[in-house]
């Protein structure tokens, strides 16, 4: 049975980086989802950009699962030649969520990581300009997009 290009990509990733990839599946044609481990995340990202051609950064965001004590950080990437969209996910523990910054690899993730920091409280190590993006600079109210956020935050 001929393998689709998405499955070929997953096989190649599993073959080269078995220890870094926890789970990988094809959601739809041209959509691939990869759940990676936190250790070695930077190496996997570098391999995706250099060897598999995911040069075009799309976005990054996070989802909070308080009942499972984790926050999942998702990076959306695009391959301009094969037009695949990849969602690269990693689970972080809720109390000390920190990840090496992906701005080393895809520069345009800068704005999205700034937003994830102020909305969820994830620390990105090595980010060049970690200042709040959307919230006022004197915001004292907590992390708005976490599920246990209450109230309205700092005064105007």
């Amino acid at each position: 049975m001929p393998e689709s290009a998405e499955e070929a990509l997953i096989e190649a990733l599993r073959a080269e980086h078995l220890d870094l990839v926890e789970e990988a599946r094809v959601i739809r044609p041209k959509r691939v989802a990869i759940l990676a481990r936190r250790e070695g995340f930077l190496d996997l990202a570098r391999a995706l950009r250099d060897e598999h051609g995911f040069l075009h950064p799309v976005s990054a965001g996070a989802v909070d699962y308080p009942k499972e004590y984790r926050i999942q950080m998702i990076y959306y990437l695009m391959n301009p030649s094969s037009r695949f969209m990849l969602t690269l996910r990693v689970d972080l523990p809720r109390d000390e969520a920190s990840l090496p910054s992906m701005t080393r690899i895809w520069e345009a993730m800068s704005f999205h990581e700034r937003e994830a920091k102020e909305m969820f409280g994830i620390d990105f190590e090595g980010h060049p300009n970690m200042v709040p993006l959307l919230l006022p600079p004197d915001w004292r109210g907590g992390y708005p997009l976490r599920k246990d956020f209450e109230g309205e935050g700092a005064e105007p």
Partner: protein
């Protein structure tokens, strides 16, 4: 503490102009002032395209004398068009303080009036928590006819003002 006196009383005392003539002068002054409201070009939210259509060619706002202008010192009205977020609320206050008297505030749309569709958001503010508002225009977005009607209500309010300008006395 000095009491505030109106311009009318001062001029009456000094020049002994009889009241009926002064009422005519005041009517003309009110008519002139109400047909030259210059709002500041300050569109914060999604009602902005509707505001631009109102100042466009079909629902021309300029025939009422309303010219959106960029410099805050030369304007006399803030039309807060659209949702005011927390970061913006401080700037609305600065702009209000920088305008010269007499000044008016019009809240266009459902969002500055009462937060609109974002009523339970952590990041929006009602504009009358920050500056005093003269006219509220509801709608999401309000139709151009509604915006013009709201500005005409402001014009009526200006025409009826007895005490012109800053406090005297």
């Amino acid at each position: 503490m000095q009491e505030e006196t109106t311009i009318k009383e001062r001029i009456f005392e000094r020049y002994h102009i009889p009241m009926p003539i002064y009422n005519v002068i005041e009517y003309i002054a009110g008519w002139a002032r109400k047909y030259s409201i210059w709002p500041i070009h300050f569109v914060t939210g999604c009602c902005s395209p509707e505001f631009m259509q109102v100042s466009g060619s079909r629902f021309d706002m300029e025939r009422l004398g309303i010219l959106p202008f960029a410099s805050v010192r030369q304007c006399d009205c803030i039309m807060v068009v659209g949702v005011v977020s927390r970061k913006m609320a401080m700037r609305v206050k600065y702009l209000y303080e920088q305008m010269g008297e007499p000044k008016y505030v019009v809240s266009v749309g459902a969002c500055p009036t009462g937060k609109g569709p974002f009523y339970d958001s952590y990041a929006t503010v009602k504009v009358d928590e920050v500056v005093p508002v003269d006219v509220y225009i509801p709608g999401c977005p309000p139709r151009p006819e509604a915006i013009i009607h709201g500005m005409m209500i402001l014009q009526e309010k200006i025409r009826k003002e007895v005490k012109v300008g800053a406090r005297v006395g």
